[in-house]
C-alpha cells in the first residue's frame, strides 16, 4: 500500500479508474533511472533508486485523479520533475534526491504562480487539494 493509504482510492477526487498514462510514465521513470548520466556542461542526470521510488509513490497517488497526461523530465542534480498542462495552466511537482517531499508550483493561464510549496509524501489531502485546484480552475 502506498504511504497515502487506501483512502486515495476512495477520496472525493478519486472516483476514476487509474490513468492510462501510468504504465507509460512508470516506463519513462525506469528509463530515467537506468540511462541518466552525469554530463559535463549539461548536468548530472543520474536518478537514484530512492528518488525514483518517491516518484513512483507520487505517480501512483495521482494516477486516480483525472489529470491530463503528465510528462517526466530529469532535473539537474538527480531530481525528477512531473509536469502537467492544461492550456497555459501548469502544475509541476519536483522530487529531489534525499528528500521525502516534493516542491510544487501551480501556474495560471497567464503563466503566473498561484500556489507553490512543499508537500511531504504523507500529506495526501494537500496533494489532492492542489490537483483539485488545478483541475477546477482549468474548467473555468
Amino acid at each position: 500500500m502506498s504511504p497515502y493509504g487506501s483512502a486515495v482510492a476512495t477520496g472525493p477526487i478519486v472516483q476514476f479508474e487509474s490513468a492510462r498514462w501510468l504504465p507509460t510514465l512508470l516506463s519513462d521513470l525506469r528509463s530515467l533511472e537506468t540511462t541518466g548520466e552525469n554530463i559535463p556542461g549539461l548536468g548530472d542526470l543520474r536518478v537514484s533508486r530512492a528518488t525514483a521510488d518517491n516518484v513512483r509513490v507520487l505517480l501512483t497517488a495521482i494516477s486516480t485523479a483525472p489529470l491530463p497526461e503528465p510528462t517526466l523530465a530529469p532535473v539537474s542534480g538527480g531530481g525528477v520533475a512531473l509536469t502537467c498542462n492544461i492550456g497555459n495552466r501548469e502544475l509541476i511537482l519536483t522530487t529531489y534526491p534525499n528528500q521525502s517531499d516534493f516542491v510544487f508550483v501551480l501556474r495560471n493561464e497567464n503563466d503566473v504562480p498561484v500556489d507553490e510549496g512543499i508537500i511531504t509524501l504523507e500529506q495526501r489531502d494537500r496533494l489532492l487539494d492542489v490537483i483539485r485546484t488545478f483541475l477546477a480552475n482549468s474548467a473555468r
Binding site: 519513462d28 554530463i39 559535463p40 523530465a73 501556474r107 507553490e116
Partner: protein, 148 residues
Amino acid sequence: MPLHDDETIPANAVLLRVMLPGWTTNKGGRYRPSSLAFFSVGQEVSYFLDGPGMLPELHRIFPGLEVARVPVLVIRGVGFAIERRSTECPNDFRCERASHVVAGPSAEVTRIEFQKSAGSIAKHPDVTIISPEPPRPGEPRAPGSAIQ
C-alpha cells in the same frame, strides 16, 4: 554552495544553456525554455559564454539538442551570480574552457525560491531557443537524448 559573481563576465554577454527534450514549453504561442531547464538540485546551472565558434561547438558536442540563449542581464537580474568552472567543461571541448560557467544564488536560498528564480529566467522575453543544426548522416546521438 553559494557562488561568487565573476566581474570579468560583462553585462552584455550572453550565456548558452544546452537543453534536454522536455525542457521546453509552448505557452501563449511562444516556444521557450521551461523552468525545468533552469532547475538544479545543487542550485548551480551550467552554461557556456557565447562567443566565436561556441554555438557550433555546442552543436558538435550535443548534437540534436536545442540551446537556450540567456542574456547575462537576465541571470543577474534574478540575483544570481555567474562563476567560471573550467574544470567542469566537457573533456573534448574545443573552445576556451573558461567559457564554461555556472549560475546560481550568491547566498543559499530555499528550493521554492530557487525554482521561482528559474521560472523568471525561463519566462523572460529575452530568453530564446536556438534550434539544433540538422543531424548529419552517421552523426552520434546526443548525450542524454535517450532519456525521452
